[in-house]
């Protein structure tokens, strides 16, 4: 099970190699990865449907209770199948779609990383592992939205999406940690078994707010919805996969996953219902107002996400079932519609609904897929979308609280959906407002497979819902609702109130379609809201952070190296002094200082060092100062040898040598050495800082010799270097084995420093302004 999650990452690393070998068609081969995952997950289908839960644990950092605990139950299998199946279709589609793009291998790499992270997210039942996969999806989404990184809009959109979802992610982490502290475990299964204790705990409110912040930012709930329409800057396959079918559903998944643990309280229900309700209505209204096809779909997606949150908040078992059914229905038709948009965009060069019409003549297959998807979206009998809508209406009718308001809200958004479905299906493909003679071609086969499959599935699932969808979704709803209830899916319920409401929705939707032009013209006095809404808050906050950063940078890093060093040294001295003061240590313990122990050669080394330091202070030449510093460095290395640390000494020698070599390389390119005179009070300040630091370090060293270290570490390493580490060089064994994680951190820092140095060297500053 670990492999099925990691396979995506492993293959992602291989993508550039495969791309080089296969050339342009590598996308089709990579599509086998999600297909393989799908087949593998399908083998568990029967066992899961019977109610079995399969879990497997891999240790990661067991001492911190952080493990890869993978659990496959109804909910995770449902999402896993959705992710891998969509992944397969999207990869095939993208293989054709991305042909014109440069660096398409990177695209598939990011997409694979995303898919693997998404799989890890839905299969993890350890909170910390779940969080890490959660962040990885934000991260890969950032790379994908910003894929056309030459365009400023897509860079900004990527950054915005990342900042919003990642700060939500941090809130989520905080929530998880508090939850972990309250329950003393990070394993979701164990938390579930004691969830009453969580609900009664005083920190319950904080946990709920933080976790919901994570879910709301990811699933674009009001007031965090603004990043999603901007994220449409991504290539269309990404919009279809991440920002409609899977990633934005991660928030829904999280809410569903935590419903049994945290749900059932009023705060949980009302927060979800209010946020979901506002999002649903806002998305529906904004969708009608836009004319860019992708923006329209983005806002209807926001609206659909609102419906899902609302239904999960309503909390009755019927509502939960309806949410899960609608989730599937929405993924199918919205995925198809996004891909259809991609086809239209690619073939006609436009996405504006006002410019497009009568496309059926030119693109019959895309057209058929669009009709099917639109029927499902509008909720027409017997499509799967109809079943979803019926269930939602029924759930709203039988909700425990506020059911009239709920019902009206749901119907309003349903009406908007119908109008938009007609707009796309009829307006774009059949209605013929001829602007000029045009001739478009149908999209290539590879770009038809995915939308047609998804759209046809919308019909097939509708017709045979009882056989195909019911078994798994029953399990899903049971996991979310934490109870065993049968779910029955039929498209025909007889003539009842819900059917009447469905018909009413269709009629109102058709009416809305005919008056939509009027609605678009009314600005609805919304300009004020747009200018002062969440987007403006986001921009304002970003500006504020930037201004603060500039302020503190100009204070601490004002371009004078001496100032940087003074700040660092002064802060370090302050910390040292506060420790000394806190533990009430003697500042100058002289008792243990024995002059007879000092060896002759040590004195010589010391003399060398002192002379070098003296010369260093006196000299005005760059070369002399480098050489004198080299002398000090070598002296230190020799001291390392005296006291039995050959590894450290070798490293020190090499580094000193390299420093001199590097300096020689650039010596003739440096500008002449200039001295910037100090003001006398600065001079005094620096002298005080230097002397204070020197005194403190001396005292610390004396203290160390006075209180010999009482720790088992030395003995442990001496004893176990050979037994456990299978090496004789303790220093090396500590570096690569006992404390390898530290080394890992250090080499990561080195790599980042190298990137920083390169950036600085390549940065060509024009006087006065940055280029």
């Amino acid at each position: 099970m670990l492999l099925i999650v990691l396979i995506g990452y492993i293959c992602a690393l291989l993508v550039p190699v495969i791309a080089k070998a296969l050339g342009r068609s590598h996308g089709y081969l990579i599509a086998l990865v999600p297909l393989g995952v799908f087949v593998y997950l399908s083998t568990y289908f029967n066992r899961i449907v019977e109610g079995e839960v399969i879990s497997r644990q891999y240790n990661w950092v067991p001492s911190l209770d952080v493990n890869f605990t993978f659990q496959l139950d109804g909910l995770s299998l449902f999402f896993g199948l959705l992710i891998s199946f969509f992944g397969f279709l999207i990869f095939v589609y993208a293989a054709a779609y991305m042909k014109g793009y440069k660096e398409s291998d990177k695209f598939f790499m990011y997409l694979l990383i995303f898919m693997a992270s998404m799989l890890g997210l839905v299969m993890s039942s350890n909170l910390i592992a779940l969080f890490i996969f959660w962040e990885l999806t934000s991260f890969s989404s950032y790379l994908l939205i910003g894929f056309s990184h030459n365009a400023k809009t897509s860079r900004n959109a990527a950054l915005q999406a990342f900042l919003v979802t990642a700060s939500g992610g941090l809130a989520l982490l905080a929530g998880f940690i508090i939850l972990g502290e309250v329950t003393q475990t990070y394993e979701l299964v164990e938390i579930l078994s004691i969830h009453e204790r969580v609900i009664d705990h005083p920190y319950y409110l904080a946990i709920v707010i933080l976790i919901l912040l994570g879910a709301f930012t990811k699933s674009a709930q009001f007031p965090f919805h603004f990043w999603l329409p901007n994220a449409m800057a991504a290539p269309t396959p990404v919009s279809a996969y991440l920002h409609s079918a899977t990633m934005v559903k991660a928030g829904i998944y999280l809410i569903a996953r935590f419903n049994p643990t945290l749900g059932g309280t009023e705060i949980w229900q009302f927060t979800l219902m209010i946020a979901g309700g506002i999002t649903m209505l806002l998305g529906a209204i904004l969708a009608i107002q836009h004319t860019d096809l992708k923006k329209i779909l983005a806002y209807t997606t926001i609206s659909a996400l609102g419906i899902l949150v609302l239904m999960l908040g309503a909390g009755t078992s019927l509502a939960i079932q309806s949410a899960m059914v609608f989730l599937l229905a929405h993924a199918l038709y919205k995925g198809a519609l996004f891909l259809i948009t991609g086809n239209i965009d690619k073939q006609t060069g436009s996405r504006d609904v006002l410019e497009l019409s009568g496309l059926y003549k030119f693109m019959p297959f895309t057209g058929v897929a669009a009709f099917l998807a639109c029927f499902s979206m509008a909720g027409v009998l017997p499509f799967f979308g109809f079943i979803g809508k019926e269930l939602i209406y029924e759930a709203a009718l039988h909700a425990t609280v506020q059911h009239i308001a709920l019902l009206v809200a749901v119907i309003v958004s349903g009406v908007a959906f119908v109008a938009i479905a007609i707009e796309i299906g009829y307006g774009l493909f059949i209605q013929n407002i001829s602007f000029s003679e045009r001739n478009y071609k149908e999209a290539p086969v590879a770009m038809l497979v995915a939308p047609v499959t998804l759209a046809v599935l919308g019909l097939v699932f509708g017709l045979f819902a009882g056989v195909l969808v019911q078994p798994l979704l029953t399990q899903v709803s049971n996991v979310v609702g934490n109870e065993d209830l049968p779910l029955e899916l039929h498209f025909w319920h007889g003539f009842n109130l819900v059917l009447m409401l469905s018909l009413l929705t269709l009629l109102l939707g058709t009416a809305l379609f005919f008056v939509r032009k009027g609605i678009r013209k009314i600005p609805l006095h919304l300009d004020y809201l747009y200018n002062h809404g969440p987007t403006a808050w986001y921009d304002g906050l970003l500006q504020l952070i930037k201004r603060f950063a500039r302020l503190q940078t100009s204070y601490f890093q004002n371009g004078y190296l001496r100032n940087y060093i003074a700040v660092i040294v002064a802060f370090f001295s302050f910390m040292l002094a506060s420790v000394l003061w806190q533990f009430d240590l003697k500042i100058f313990p002289v008792a243990n200082f024995d002059i007879d122990n000092v060896r002759f050669y040590e004195v010589i080394i010391l003399a060398f060092t002192l002379v070098a330091v003296f010369v260093f202070f006196k000299t005005r030449s760059r070369l002399t100062s480098i050489v004198t510093m080299g002398v000090v460095g070598y002296a230190v290395a020799i001291i390392f040898i005296f006291f039995g640390a050959p590894d450290v000494a070798i490293t020190q020698f090499l580094i000193e040598t390299l420093t001199v070599v590097l300096f020689v390389l650039i010596l003739h390119k440096l500008p002449p050495l200039r001295f910037y005179p100090l003001k006398s009070f600065q001079n005094g300040l620096y002298i005080i800082i230097s002397i204070g630091f020197g005194l403190l370090m001396t005292s610390v060293l004396l203290l160390v010799t006075e209180h010999p270290m009482v720790s088992g570490l030395k003995a442990y390493f001496a004893e176990n270097t050979y037994i456990l580490g299978k090496g004789k060089n303790a220093v090396n064994v500590i570096l690569v084995d006992f404390r390898a994680l530290d080394t890992m951190g250090e080499i990561s820092v080195l790599a980042i420093a190298a990137i920083g140095i390169v950036a600085l060297l390549k940065l060509k500053l024009v006087k006065g302004k940055m280029k």
Partner: protein, 135 residues
């Protein structure tokens, strides 16, 4: 700098330096040495080469993308820690094969980690020197 003696010497010394650095890398587990020191030593002849012939010539001769080296080193080191997870042990637990190779010793994840460090250090030193001398 650019004298015949130095030119000839660096040609002969480069392979020696490289072999010595690999020797240091593998002996590190038992004697002074290891990936970091080995990497520094391996980078030295190339640095000298850049000093004498110029960075462009060095790049042409060794045809290495230093950024790839850095990334590869990090990847090797990090994945050496992942091996143990598949064995059901915590991240970065050391594992050894149960056979000996002559000279090399027992192959295990610590040496894999050290090889990663070695490659990374070579990459970083070269990246910095080549960039500095390129300007």
């Amino acid at each position: 700098m650019n004298t015949l003696i130095v030119r000839t010497a660096i040609k002969i010394l480069t392979p020696l330096f490289l072999i010595f650095s690999v020797y240091l890398l593998f002996r590190g587990h038992n004697e002074p040495g290891g990936g970091f020191i080995g990497g520094l030593i391996a980078a030295m002849p190339l640095t000298f080469h850049a000093m004498i012939y110029g960075a462009r010539e060095t790049k042409k001769m060794f045809k290495i993308n230093t950024m790839v080296l850095i990334a590869l080193g990090l990847l090797i080191s990090a994945s050496s820690g992942l091996v143990s997870i598949f064995e059901g042990q915590p991240f970065m637990s050391s594992l050894w094969a149960d056979f000996y190779l002559p000279i090399f010793g027992k192959p295990g994840t610590p040496i894999m980690f050290d090889i990663g460090v070695y490659i990374l250090v070579v990459g970083i030193v070269l990246r910095i020197t080549l960039n500095l001398s390129e300007e």
